[in-house]
């Protein structure tokens, strides 16, 4: 590197030494690296690395955290070559629709090759956060044995491992601070993994095993919680009852985040009061989740802790509106609420009245496959929340019916939406009052909510919806479409507009080759495109693959019809076609 410090571009030297003006790098590399080390945003770091070669190098030496949104967009070798000092890795694998069983088993996204490379190049690796990856027990054991300083493991929506793999982690990772296991498709062999934490192990700060079914030894858990004085997050599974919860809370009153176990148990009154006191003593509790089988009778024990809550996750608690209303009245500081639609519109009205600071709400369907109109929430619940919670910017709403007028009013009330995900559960359902398509609803959303980053549409939609989206959604990054649109024109509008589009996922829409190919130039600026059950054919996909060699075009064919494409997944990659594609995936 150039050791000379170029002081100013205007010095007399610059006339005689024109090279002096060429280098924008006016700092010694150590200074540049120091400054860059304070940059944490991945987008900023990407921008920085594009300035010039010096900055590219300074950035790559100072980066310690890497985020890879699509594990196939790059290879372990390329990552290892570019970034020598990585301590934290976040990797995402399968397309999001795999959460809904649209991606067959054994599709790929296996972590193992990555781990092998990391063991070679990043022996000091501390954190690994995986989403929708396949992870085997062997990989987990390899991880546990290869990185002596390993601290944080987070597995969300992954598959392929069992509780035996967790046992390896517990046994060997002496410096573990975080073990976060969420909603994975795993083999729950036994709860004995928890007992594998050594007696002298005290560093745990985050423990989340809420989604595991097999019972752990409560004795082992209680001792673990007692000796880990820095424990901030504890989310237990259903096997832990209320009396056991009380004992845990007494040992860890410093908790900031709690996921309870089963909230239904025959409790003597005395124990009820003890539990209530335990909650009263948790002065730092901000996040509460779990509450399985929540029996209304015991909800009152939560009340002392409710006033400091900022996030309440009731997505496993089937509460009725009257029960929920009483609870929510105690939570005036809520910023984020996840709830089941058993609370109905009345419950949401209570939210509107009680939670003026609310920024995010997610309403999940308790009976997603039972389309009885008399259950769940309607547009009036959503309206009520938007009326009372003007700071709302994130919504995920599953409902049986909606109207254009309601949505228009909702976004008038809350114009700051960044994430608007509306799921009218009956596909292709129109405005139930006017029988018209829901085009104007989403038109209102994209016209009014200029900060919109993520949108999921539903209901009966013509191409007009997509005209609106393409024209107005200037900040849109993620779009999810199902059972919508009339012709190729719809998808063409989106691909022709939406300058910041990164992820487009489409299912069951009448978009064909013309639509697919209209995005030819755009896909390289996007992370990925998913199209399933549309009208795309092999010829269309082949043409795309031929024209754009830096895209991977992966096709899963229709069993009966050889030319018709069932699923196509298109993504940019600097690693070329993947070598681990299973037989049902054809890379064109």
């Amino acid at each position: 590197m150039d050791p000379n410090i170029k002081k100013t571009k205007n010095s007399a030297d610059s006339a005689n030494y024109p090279e002096a003006i060429q280098s924008p790098s006016q700092f010694p590399d150590e200074v540049l690296e120091k400054v860059l080390s304070m940059l944490h945003s991945h987008k900023d770091r990407s921008s920085v690395s594009l300035v010039c070669k010096d900055w590219y190098n300074a950035e790559r030496w100072s980066r310690t955290k890497i985020f890879i949104g699509n594990c196939y967009s790059v290879s372990p070798e390329i990552v290892a070559r570019r970034f020598p000092r990585i301590k934290s890795v976040t990797l995402k694998g399968k397309p999001r629709f795999s959460d809904f069983n649209l991606v067959p088993q054994n599709w790929g996204a296996n972590i193992h090759d990555w781990l092998v490379m990391f063991a070679k190049v990043y022996p000091l690796l501390e954190e690994l956060r995986l989403k929708r990856m396949t992870v085997s027990d062997e990989s987990l054991e390899f991880l546990a044995m290869s990185f002596p300083g390993f601290k944080a493991l987070s597995l969300l929506s992954c598959d392929g491992f069992s509780t035996d793999g967790l046992k390896s982690i517990a046994t060997h990772c002496k410096k573990l601070t975080e073990l976060d296991i969420q909603e994975n498709g795993i083999d729950d062999v036994s709860g004995s993994w928890l007992s594998a934490f050594p007696d002298n192990f005290t560093s745990l700060e985050i423990l989340n095993f809420a989604s595991l079914n097999s019972e752990v030894s409560f004795d082992a858990l209680e001792r673990l919680v007692s000796r880990c004085k820095s424990l901030k997050v504890l989310k237990v599974n259903k096997g832990i009852g209320l009396d056991q919860l009380q004992r845990l809370l007494v040992r860890a009153p410093q908790l900031m985040e709690l996921g309870t176990g089963s909230f239904q148990q025959e409790l003597m009154f005395r124990h009820c009061m003890e539990l209530e006191n335990a909650f009263r003593n948790c002065k730092n509790l901000q996040i509460l989740a779990g509450l399985w089988d929540a029996s209304y009778v015991y909800l009152h024990v939560l009340y002392p802790a409710c006033s400091s809550l900022t996030f309440l996750n009731l997505s496993y608690a089937t509460l009725r509106s009257d029960e929920f209303t009483k609870l929510i009245a105690h939570c005036p500081n809520l910023r984020c609420l996840w709830v089941l639609d058993t609370v109905e519109d009345k419950g949401l009205e209570a939210v509107g009245s009680c939670c003026p600071l609310l920024e995010e709400i997610r309403v999940f369907p308790a009976h997603p496959f039972d389309q009885d109109i008399n259950h769940g929430v309607t547009e009036s619940g959503f309206l009520a929340v938007s009326h009372g919670c003007r700071k709302l910017h994130y919504v995920l709403y599953f409902c049986q019916q909606m109207t254009n007028a309601a949505v228009a009013t909702i976004v008038q009330n809350c114009p700051d939406f960044t994430h608007f995900r509306l799921c009218i559960m009956n596909p292709g359902q129109p405005d139930y009052l006017t029988d018209e398509p829901m085009d104007e609803a989403f038109g209102a959303v994209v016209k009014t909510c200029t900060k919109l980053q993520r949108l999921a549409v539903s209901g009966l939609l013509t191409d007009l919806t997509f005209e609106y989206i393409g024209k107005y959604a200037k900040n849109l990054e993620t779009l999810s479409v199902a059972f919508a649109g009339r012709s190729d024109w719809g998808m063409q509008c989106v691909l022709g507009g939406c300058p910041k589009l990164r992820k487009l996922e489409i299912r069951d829409c009448p978009f064909g080759n013309a639509a697919l190919l209209s995005g030819l130039k755009k896909y390289e600026s996007m992370r990925s495109l998913w199209m399933s059950a549309c009208n795309v054919t092999m010829n269309g996909c082949r043409l795309l693959a031929k024209e754009m060699p830096r895209l991977n075009v992966e096709v899963m064919k229709d069993e009966e019809d050889d030319s018709h494409v069932d699923k196509v997944y298109v993504y940019r990659s600097v690693a070329g076609p993947r070598r681990d594609a299973p037989p049902f995936v054809l890379t064109l």
């Binding site: 809904f100 009154f269 369907p365 389309q371 129109p430 009966l460």
Partner: protein, 190 residues
């Protein structure tokens, strides 16, 4: 599943989206993809009845909605976890206990979860049985009327309503009985 002639589903490649009997949509056909057609061997597809949102022409019993793979988009893990909940529909719908009143020909049932406290419960009982229940005091029990509310607790003992905190009462009450004051006096003196 719904193959009645009423519906315009064509089992070839085209489904028409729209409500039967309404004409304000454009007449062009909407060709929807094959996943909506019956494929008997594939576990992943099933027939989707688009016209079931139709309000105009309906059979008396609309066909059951077929399930489309991955729709609504809820994570399968979460959905399974919810289904596993021990709570049955009856749990969700209330905590009903029998209420008997001496001299009344039949019993009633009330949902304890509807009430927040003793006064609300007592008022409801008074309305239901068209009686008056006296005023509660710890020393005297219920004074001022002929009737006293009692309940059978988890241990099978008959207790006077009102002695224990409300929440404890709700969890331990098995059934209620409105007694004549002369019998209830014996309970209050314990």
């Amino acid at each position: 599943m719904g193959k009645a002639a009423n519906y315009e589903n064509e089992l070839a490649t085209e489904l028409r989206l729209g409500l039967l009997g309404t004409d304000h949509h454009e007449p062009e056909k909407q060709s929807f993809p094959l996943s909506l057609v019956i494929k008997s061997n594939k576990r992943s597809s099933s027939e989707m009845d688009y016209n079931s949102s139709d309000k105009c022409e309906q059979d008396s019993a609309p066909p059951p909605k077929a399930q489309v793979v991955g729709w609504p988009p809820v994570r399968s893990y979460w959905r399974n976890a919810l289904q596993q909940q021990k709570k049955t529909e009856s749990d969700v719908s209330g905590m009903y206990v029998k209420v008997s009143m001496d001299g009344a020909p039949y019993l009633r049932k009330i949902d304890l979860r509807v009430y927040n406290n003793y006064p609300e419960l007592l008022k409801a009982l008074e309305a239901m049985f068209k009686c008056t229940i006296g005023v509660y005091s710890e020393r005297e029990g219920y004074s001022g009327s002929d009737n006293a509310p009692t309940y059978e607790d988890k241990d099978g003992d008959w207790m006077l309503v009102g002695d224990v905190p409300w929440n404890m009462f709700v969890t331990s009450c098995r059934r209620l009985r409105i007694m004549k004051e002369s019998e209830a006096k014996g309970l209050g003196c314990l």
